[in-house]
């Protein structure tokens, strides 16, 4: 049988799913572009530990269904493989993002000062909760179009999920250098983040649904919720 040697490295390099090759000391021998970005949100040690924990019992490859969340990265499964004692690899599979099928009714979008909505929601939150809140906002953010009612519901639910935390940190900022393209226009992104030492996750599904409804990207973890809001004007 004729064998043709093909170098697949460039395919792996450009793969959207992170791929990392460790040596037996846990040092990285190779990582692709996507993995490089992933390491901004997770430590090398954590991924190496996962690699060892889910490795096949003997030489070969094993795929496991597992939910892993690192900031905006959400993975649904991993493949661990090794063919010798020296190297072990992990490949993480991105969960596909479902684009909202429903288009937002433009008549519902009204130019709004987001700081006003945030402050009103914090005041509402404080009618029921005594948690100290540290707030860092950008008062110079321009007004942008938003569905005031639906977005307020989302904010209420986000804040409410922190109802039992000791203290909360809230920030609102423009994500510098990041934008999305809508109808060929560059749209900047405003990030609203709320974090604490813990939170209730009973309404996470509703928060996800309302975020999708409002064309907002939500990043939800055990300790924080981040909303990436398109600054449509």
């Amino acid at each position: 049988m004729n064998t043709i040697s093909i170098n697949f490295e460039s395919f792996v390099e450009r793969d959207n799913n992170p791929f990392i090759l460790f040596n037996n000391q846990g040092k990285i021998i190779y990582l692709n572009n996507s993995a490089e970005i992933l390491f901004g949100y997770v430590s090398k040690q954590e991924l190496y530990n996962i690699t060892l924990s889910y490795a096949p019992k003997t030489f070969g490859y094993k795929t496991t269904l597992i939910n892993l969340n690192y900031n905006s990265y959400i993975f649904h499964s991993i493949t661990i493989g090794y063919e010798n004692e020296e190297q072990i690899s992990i490949r993480l599979y991105n969960t596909p993002r479902i684009n909202p099928i429903q288009k937002k009714d433009k008549t519902k979008l009204i130019k709004t000062d987001i700081n006003l909505l945030l402050e009103a929601n914090i005041a509402l939150f404080q009618t029921k909760n005594k948690n100290p809140i540290k707030l860092l906002t950008d008062q110079d953010l321009p007004q942008f179009k938003i569905d005031q009612n639906s977005f307020s519901k989302l904010l209420r639910k986000v804040l409410n999920s922190f109802r039992s935390s000791d203290s909360m940190d809230i920030y609102l900022k423009l994500l510098i250098g990041q934008y999305i393209i809508i109808e060929d226009k560059k749209i900047y992104i405003v990030e609203l983040g709320v974090s604490a030492n813990g939170r209730y996750c009973d309404e996470d599904e509703e928060i996800r649904r309302l975020s999708i409804d409002n064309q907002i990207k939500s990043i939800i973890s055990e300790y924080y919720i981040k909303l990436e809001i398109p600054l449509i004007n």
């Binding site: 008549t107 402050e119 509402l124 404080q126 009618t127 005031q148 009612n149 639906s150 307020s152």
Partner: protein, 244 residues
């Protein structure tokens, strides 16, 4: 212009939140027992808004089509929510209770809960002083002529029963002998019937007479002398009227 009196931090936060959203098109609901000032608060913050009662479903639906800013009172009395369109409107609803919390959660962006007056100590004191000032002024009674130690505040129906209990307490100090007689006259005129009226209605003046006398003079012996009746007669009347 409506005014809303409060010293409660919780309600001040509600007012703050309302004031911030005053110019926005969001739907809000204020939930709490009757007579805690929900409607007053809504009118205080949105003085120009039209008001419609949830008792009239079709009128609410009609007004939602016409107005962008609307106060809906007694929201709990609405039976059908499907025709209520709150999109791009400023809605302020008030409700004494919520029978379907999930529905309210879906419909409203801002959900405010006002606790009953008995849970707002600072407001009880604040409102008490306002009601005392109002009642003494209306009844033309000097404040220092009133014994407030005997004032029993009725909070069973929030501000309404509180105001009434204060008004009635002060009223007692404002009445002249003729007015008291007139009140008894009216009461008896309205209720007198049967065949044992004398014995039945004698208690209206005998009972306070003996109780006040006992409180003032302490002993039955002394009181019988002051009233000019026999001690045994007094004792019999105390027993008849069940006076402690």
């Amino acid at each position: 212009m409506n005014t809303f009196f409060t010293k409660s931090e919780q309600i001040q936060n509600i007012i703050k939140s309302f004031n911030l959203t005053k110019s926005l098109f969001v739907s809000s609901i204020i939930i709490g027992e009757a007579n805690i000032g929900k409607k007053t608060l809504a009118k205080y913050i949105f003085p120009n808004a039209m008001i419609v009662s949830g008792d009239n479903q079709s009128l609410v639906e009609e007004m939602l089509k016409t107005y962008d800013e609307l106060i809906i009172t007694d929201f709990q009395n609405l039976t059908n929510y499907t025709n209520l369109n709150f999109d791009n409107k400023r809605i302020i609803a008030t409700a004494n209770y919520v029978s379907n919390p999930q529905r309210v959660d879906d419909m409203f962006a801002f959900i405010y809960n006002i606790p009953p007056l008995k849970e707002r100590r600072e407001d009880i004191e604040y409102l008490k002083n306002i009601f005392i000032t109002n009642s003494t002024s209306m009844l033309m009674v000097e404040k220092n002529s009133i014994n407030f130690n005997k004032l029993i505040l009725d909070l069973s129906n929030n501000s309404k029963s509180l105001e009434k209990s204060i008004f009635l307490h002060i009223l007692k100090y404002s009445l002249t002998k003729d007015e008291i007689e007139s009140i008894i006259y009216n009461y008896i005129s309205k209720n007198l019937e049967g065949n044992d009226g004398y014995r039945e209605y004698l208690g209206i003046y005998e009972k306070p007479l003996i109780r006040a006398g006992l409180d003032k003079f302490g002993s039955q012996l002394k009181l019988s002398n002051i009233l000019g009746i026999n001690r045994n007669t007094l004792r019999k009347k105390i027993y008849e009227h069940n006076i402690d």
